[in-house]
């Protein structure tokens, strides 16, 4: 059984190689290889994942793996560094395998239609395959160095795909920005890996977790913090969140797959995977929760006012990832993975829907130039509505269950402040999502008349994946998250987190609908309902319910905030709280000046000294020329003096 594991990443790797090699010769057909490679990978991954989730042999509750070869050998040295090329699957990996391969496969299919008219289609599919390989390597790696390899490779694919339309300067700049900001986090991750090696002499994850209790506590804190640095970069948490919105320069299927459903989850996966490390450093858990919930509300506040449909979704992704980190930080481990899965499906769906919308209005992404699209692209509308309802947390869709578990976990584990902020964010989420729905689908059309008459629903290869994704977005919660806290997912993942939870001392009270849990769920749901109604009222209703018919204008949020004296808040939100401007000043401008100063130093001081010595020597040479008198006696004298000097020096040295 474990012999199947290598197939899962290798199939898309083979697809990448073949598509890349054959693409130039068969530009119209090469992408088929890539699609079938991912389908095959999905089949194998599904079998493996089901076995692992059922705790069947050989996986059991602890997982099972296979070592392919010794990547870096210790080479006969007692404490020589070593790392293996090994894969490992346990229930946690299995959850990720399902998300990655399923959404990956659907995005591949969707892209057949979406990229149909792009001459670089084969290149696009080759990169997508490379991404699948890298992401699968990341989640299946059995040691930290190999995780890091996958980690960097997904970053590379993200770079290649954000910059896919490279003649567009903004795309090239955004791609570079994503890679660099990620690398800032990766520095921390790399240091963490070195610290683990120095402390424990192994990088195999299961060994590290087993021995981690023996590490001195200050190193436990350092290691947890450093690993979290990596997670902050990859999952775009404050203060490294700035790359993700710009990453929307990439083709929309990329936004769906990499920048919503899979790669950005890698940080959440890593922290969850390292739960024994974080469990040993509760101080760091608080940091995780704080960063997470702060990112959640920060990003939600920005999503309020953005007008680019993909950017709203990007900030929403930041916000939802923040939820997941908050969940990890408060010790609600399973809830975080639950939200990772449900978010993967509904956010993947929302992005593909946005792609379908953009496709239908000729590439327009500004929601102020949309409106009234519901009737014209009904499948896109219906599936996007499912996604919006799901992310808003309306029962019984997926988002309701996973978000409810996070808020409940925060409340019951004593993190009231996390709960309180999370509660507010739940309302904000529902509002900005229905603002998006309203501006895009409802009310009168603001579409450019030129474009208006050829608005069309997308081809079946695109709507098919939408429908298929809408199913888990709607039903995943009921399927694996119900009844709350005892559903299938909890049974699957229990062994992964059991010892950490036991060590943390949080004894989980049974879920009680007629008690605190029910009260929290009803409270959140009520807030969400109010937010949806509010957005509905502001951004247009087609059905005259409760007299809520309104004539929506695109800039409602701005007008209202101006009227209520909140113009500054609006400005802050609209300008993304000026993070990009600060970074630009700090790193691009001042960093550039520093580099220029260093270069000046190199030319004038370092090289200047060298050339100065050269000039002085040349001058001295001119003076010394006079010594060349042509008289042999003078030379003989010089030679004798020199010999005496050398001999004296030699004697002095030898005497020591």
């Amino acid at each position: 059984m474990t012999a199947l594991l290598p197939l899962i990443p290798i199939l898309p790797l083979g697809g990448f190689v073949l598509t890349g090699l054959l693409g130039r010769r068969y530009p119209d057909d090469a992408h088929r290889i890539a699609v079938w490679a991912v389908v095959a990978s999905w089949v194998v991954a599904s079998i493996v994942a089901v076995m692992a989730l059922l705790h069947a042999s050989p996986f059991g509750t602890g997982g099972a793996g296979i070592t392919l070869w010794t990547w870096i050998p210790a080479n006969g040295f007692a404490s020589g560094f070593n790392a293996s090329m090994g894969l490992f699957v346990d229930p946690l990996t299995a959850c990720l395998l399902i998300v990655v391969t399923t959404i990956g496969m659907l995005v591949h299919v969707y892209s057949i239609g979406y990229m149909a008219h792009d001459p670089g289609r084969w290149r696009f599919f080759a990169y997508l395959n490379l991404f699948m390989f890298s992401m699968l390597l990341l989640v299946m790696a059995d040691n930290f160095l190999l995780v890091f390899a996958g980690w960097e490779l997904v970053g590379l694919c993200s770079y290649l795909l954000i910059g896919f339309w490279y003649p567009r300067r903004t795309a090239a700049v955004a791609a570079k920005k994503a890679f660099l900001v990620n690398r800032i986090g990766d520095m921390g991750f790399a240091l963490g890996i070195m610290a683990i090696w120095t402390q424990l002499g192994t990088l195999n994850m299961q060994d590290v977790f087993a021995k981690f209790g023996s590490v001195p506590h200050e190193w436990q804190i350092a290691i947890a913090l450093l690993i979290f640095c990596g997670a902050v970069g990859k999952s775009a948490q404050f203060p490294l969140h700035v790359w993700l919105p710009d990453a929307m320069e990439g083709p929309t299927p990329v936004s769906a797959l990499i920048h919503a459903a899979t790669m950005v989850n890698a940080g959440v996966y890593l922290v969850a995977r390292c739960n024994p490390i974080f469990g040993a450093a509760p101080e760091v858990m608080v940091v995780v929760a704080a960063i997470g919930i702060f990112t959640a509300i920060l990003a939600a506040s920005i999503a309020f006012t953005q007008t680019d449909i993909k950017r709203v979704l990007a900030y929403s992704t930041l916000s939802q990832l923040g939820y997941m980190f908050a969940s990890l930080g408060v010790g609600a481990w399973t809830a975080a993975i639950f939200h990772l899965m449900s978010h993967g499906f509904f956010k993947g769906l929302l992005f593909l829907d946005s792609g379908s919308v953009i496709h239908s209005v000729d590439g327009e992404q500004d929601m102020r130039k949309m409106g009234g699209l519901a009737r014209k692209i009904p499948i896109t509308y219906a599936t996007m509505l499912v996604g919006a309802v799901a992310i808003s947390g309306v029962p019984p869709l997926a988002g309701f269950f996973s978000k409810d578990e996070i808020l409940g976990g925060a409340f019951k584990n004593g993190f009231l402040w996390v709960w309180a902020i999370g509660f507010v964010v739940a309302g904000m989420t529902a509002f900005y999502m229905f603002r998006l729905m309203g501006m895009t689908f409802w009310g009168p059309s603001h579409v450019d008349p030129e474009v208006e008459h050829h608005i069309h629903e997308s081809p079946r290869s695109m709507t098919g994946p939408l429908i298929l994704l809408a199913i888990p977005a709607a039903l995943l919660g009921l399927a694996i998250g119900f009844p709350p806290e005892t559903g299938l997912l909890h049974q699957w993942l229990a062994p992964v987190f059991a010892s950490t939870i036991a060590a943390s001392g949080h004894t989980e009270a049974a879920y009680n609908f007629f008690g605190v849990d029910g009260a929290l769920a009803i409270g959140t749901t009520a807030l969400v309902a109010v937010a949806i109604v509010l957005a509905w009222r502001l951004f247009g209703v087609e059905i005259p319910v409760l007299g809520l018919r309104a004539q929506p204008r695109p800039d409602q949020v701005r007008e209202i905030s101006a009227r209520r004296g909140l113009a500054l808040l609006y400005k802050g939100s609209f300008n993304k709280w000026w993070f990009d401007d600060i970074n630009n000043k700090l790193f691009v401008e001042w960093g550039g000046k520093l580099a220029a100063a260093a270069f000046w130093f190199d030319r004038t001081v370092v090289d200047g000294t060298v050339n100065g010595i050269g000039t002085v020597t040349a001058g001295a040479g001119g003076w010394l020329r006079r010594v060349q008198t042509g008289r042999v006696q003078n030379y003989a004298l010089g030679i004798a003096l020199g010999l005496i000097l050398v001999a004296a020096g030699y004697l002095v040295i030898a005497a020591r």
């Binding site: 050998p73 040295f77 580099a595």
Partner: protein, 507 residues
């Protein structure tokens, strides 16, 4: 293989080729080119035979050859290889034939002199790596200088005279100091043993050093002299400023050899001679050298960011990358030293490739300024893909060879003192900054006016150009996934180095 003097064959086969070319008619450059390539390929094949025949698990030097040369001073013609020198020899022979092949198009005048210089250069480089007699080592070391001086000075760019004079004078200062150190060491040995026999013999001297027989003050002086010679060659900060000038002016193949092999001579000298002969001094000066290495890593990367010229950028990046090598040597851990040696090989492959790629563009545009480029991904897609690959390798992408070497140096240094790595890890961001920003300006965006003006001249890579890069790319992937192919050779040399360096701690 026992009776066959394979090391002498490998070393002097290129000389034979050079003599042969000298008698060929100058009027037939293609014949000269093919003869040169054939010689280099034959040397390469011989070195591969050596690689296969070499017993990796056996400690000490193999294939040794010894004959008296100047018996009155104990100077011998003594050759021998351990795992480190075998790898360096193969790196040299590989890059040599690739460089000669890459010179077919660009070198159009004085082909005969060029190819002779190149083959003589190869003799010197191989000789440095196989010499086990210090005097012989010095001869080979200086032999390298002459052809390189000619290659830059005759076939170089506009400012070639300034660059080549600087290169030669700078290196000469170092090597004269080295000669003084070598002579002083031999005198000391002779004075202690009463005989000249073995006074220049590396193995004898090393055993002498291991016994703690070199006095501490003597060690400090001799080490400093040798270190300066090697540090200039590496080049370490602050002795690096000859490198950007030399690289910028050298013809493409000259840059490839300069970066790929010549810089390694310095690192090799540190590992082979400076530390094992003067271990007390090596430990005494370890921290200052570590600090200089960290400065080189970070400073080289920062300065790279603002370079306007493609070659100059790669030259400064070499300062940064070679900083890893010197760092890995002077933290005295097995992990870091193995990383340093990997880095020597990887830097040769990767930076050699980068210079070849810049050469490809230069051939078409006669320009290397980054500001004039733009949109090459559209006009030269294959070149851009290969360039991107080498850039990622240089940026340390896991799965490619550069990553393993740099990571091992970092891990080994972290074990020695975490602060070293904390101070230099920022290079992870800097390296991506200068490389990706450069790549963005060169390959992405709309096609620049300058390139558009050249029209059809900007064609994609030719088959020959691709053939020079494909082997390097293949090796970068293979060594990235299977670094043990190299590491297998290194147990013996690293063990030897650590024992030799460790023997000083008491003395």
């Amino acid at each position: 293989m026992s009776g066959l003097p394979i090391l002498s064959l490998i070393t002097f086969l290129p000389l034979l080729g050079a003599v042969l070319i000298a008698v060929l008619p100058s009027g037939d450059p293609n014949l000269i080119r093919r003869t040169a390539l054939g010689t280099a390929l034959a040397t390469w094949v011989l070195s591969l035979i050596l690689l296969v025949a070499f017993a990796r698990t056996q400690a000490g030097f193999q294939f040794t050859e010894a004959a008296d040369w100047i018996p009155s001073f104990g100077i011998q013609y003594k050759l021998g290889v351990d795992g480190l020198s075998v790898l360096m020899v193969v790196l040299t022979t590989t890059l040599s034939w690739i460089s000669i092949l890459a010179s077919f198009g660009p070198i159009k005048f004085r082909v005969k002199e060029y190819m002779i210089s190149f083959l003589v250069l190869e003799v010197g480089m191989i000789g440095v790596f196989v010499a086990l007699d210090l005097f012989l080592f010095y001869i080979f070391w200086e032999l390298v200088l002459v052809p390189m001086y000619l290659i830059i000075g005759i076939w170089g760019g506009a400012n070639r005279i300034y660059a080549t004079m600087k290169f030669v004078l700078y290196t000469l200062v170092g090597s004269l100091l080295m000669l003084v150190a070598i002579l002083a060491t031999a005198f000391t040995y002779q004075a202690a043993t009463g005989s000249w026999a073995g006074a220049f013999d590396y193995e004898k001297l090393q055993a002498f050093a291991a016994a703690g027989s070199f006095g501490q003050n003597f060690q400090l002086l001799a080490f400093l002299a040798l270190f300066l010679a090697f540090a200039i060659k590496v080049p370490m900060f602050p002795f690096h400023t000859w490198l950007p000038d030399a690289h910028t002016e050298a013809p493409t193949a000259g840059s490839v050899i300069l970066a790929g092999v010549l810089l390694k001579l310095g690192a090799y000298g540190l590992i082979r001679f400076a530390v094992p002969l003067y271990p007390y001094a090596a430990h005494t000066f370890a921290w200052p050298i570590i600090v200089l290495s960290v400065i080189a890593i970070v400073y080289g990367a920062i300065v790279s960011i603002v370079q306007p010229d493609l070659k100059r950028l790669i030259a400064y990046s070499s300062v940064s990358h070679m900083g890893f090598v010197t760092l890995g040597i002077f933290v005295f851990t097995a992990t870091a030293l193995q990383g340093a040696i990997l880095q020597m090989i990887n830097h040769g492959l990767i930076t050699g490739g980068l210079f070849l790629l810049v050469g490809v563009v230069y051939e078409r545009t006669h320009d290397r300024s980054i500001a004039k480029m733009g949109g090459l991904a559209a006009t030269m897609p294959i070149w851009s893909t290969v360039f991107g690959f080498f850039i990622l390798a240089s940026a340390g992408l896991p799965g490619l060879s550069g990553f393993v070497g740099e990571f091992l140096v970092f891990v080994g240094s972290f074990v020695y003192a975490p602060g070293i790595v904390v101070a230099s890890i920022i290079v992870m961001v800097l390296v991506a900054t200068y490389l990706l920003w450069m790549f963005q300006r060169v390959a992405f965006g709309p096609v620049s006016d300058f390139l558009a003006g050249l029209g059809d001249h900007v064609t994609d890579m030719s088959r020959v150009e691709f053939a020079t890069l494909a082997p390097l790319a293949a090796l970068i992937v293979v060594f990235g996934l299977f670094p043990s192919l190299i590491l297998d050779f290194l147990n013996g040399p690293v063990q030897h180095f650590l024992v030799a360096a460790g023997s000083a701690v008491g003395g």
